[in-house]
Amino acid sequence: MIQIKDLHFGYPRQQALFNGLSVHLEAGSITGLLGKNGAGKTSLLKLLTGLLHPQSGDLSVLNHNPRKREVTMLNDVFLVPEEFYFPPISINDYQKAYAPFYPSFDHAMLDRINTEFELRPDNNLQRLSHGQKKKFLIAFALSTRCRLLVLDEPTNGLDIPSKSLFRKILAGSLNEDQLVVISTHQVKDVENLIDKIIMLDKGKVIFQQTIAEISQKVCFITGTSNDVEGAIYSEAVPGGYRLMMPNGHAETEVDIELLFNAITNGKKIG
């Protein structure tokens, strides 16, 4: 679904951001794009959606060159940017104005998700809070039934109940033929949601594995200072240590934050 090979990109009068980036993503997953601030997450999402143009390299999204922004690609790609704009109209009018552009738009799904997010059709979009606007945009994005959904920091501005509701709605609204790419630096927000992790650092992919692969290789436990010796990576937490251990035992839930810190500190998990 997404093929990136030897991609080079940089902003004018700045150091190159991507130097030979290669990524391959298939449908049927929720992929977390993780990285520190300035790692190039948003730029990569914009390259995927054709909002930025690479200097060189191969980039294919749904068998299209995103640069061309062909209708057959735009019909099937929806971007939820971190900062967004809504015209001063009601949710109902927005639906009438934008939904007809998406051939697979699911109106019933939008109504259902809006209800779960406590949004009413007569709400004026410009009078909603930032979090409410974001919830509506996520609801609209899911309802387009686009094969590629690109979410840039989707949980920014959401309150705690809305974050868990977002995870629940997202997990329950996707088909096998869809791919979701979520960029975030708030890794806790996407825990138990993503099934593949891509980590970016200094314009390169430094880590790219599925949650299943990670679980087979390492486990995450809380231990004491005695356990630190055998750990791949450890961090002191109240009451002990969080440890990333070689997996010789049972599979545990992946602690994405610990994994992220381990990888960005140069640790390898094979």
């Binding site: 930025l52 209708v71 790609v77 971007l79 967004f84 704009y85 015209p87 104005a97 552009f101 998406y102």
Partner: protein, 265 residues
Amino acid sequence: METNNSFSIQRLMLLCKQSLIIYKKPIGITLAGFSAIIFIALILAQSAANFRNWDNNGDSTATFIFLFLQFGFIYTCLSFPAFRSKEKSMVYLMLPASVSEKFTFELLTRIVLYIVLMPLLFWLVANIEGIIVHSFIPELANYKFSFRDGFLAIVKNGKFEFWALILTIQGILFVFIAPFTGASHFSKSPLLKTVFTFLSIIAGYGFFVFLLVEGLGLEHIHSMNNRVLFMNNTDSALVFLGILSTLINLSLLSIAFFKLKEKEA
């Protein structure tokens, strides 16, 4: 069903419908604003002519041409409203419609529709204004406005030659197409930047001509041999300027199209 990536009338209609839903209030406010300005401008112009001396053919038409060009310039400077902010640009560029459809929609709503609707609006307001003012100030005897009479008054002293007509049309279109292209190019303050750019180009061209004429002594060429210049009479000058202005307008439209095609957010 196979989707046409180049141009679809259905998607163009969707863009129109979307625009009406989003901009219904601003459209209403703009029409009301234009009507009010036309109304006030006519009253001021008529009072300056002491009402009784008002010639509703020539004077009203002159007022129309002045307002038509002023409003048109400002209105077309507001083309591509999505490009005024990064957030709006992203929504616009990601909207599933082709570049040709988005470009055609802007061209239709910013230039073609304006050229059709503005005279109608002026005609309506001028006649309503005439009736109202006449009921209060009977000295305003010429208060019924018609474009036919107005343009006959303008051309009564001479006939329009083909290339003169082309040059006039292209000159009027340039007033709309130049800011249209400027709005596709400049994200912030397109009006000011467009005016500045075109003034710079004209000033640069003027300076270049000055250098040629004064510096190289070209002012003597015509007197030495009037066949050196291909424009040696008014007719050939009109043909040249007519072709040149047409090419300039087509080039500006092409620039606007490719700017939209290559736009990043």
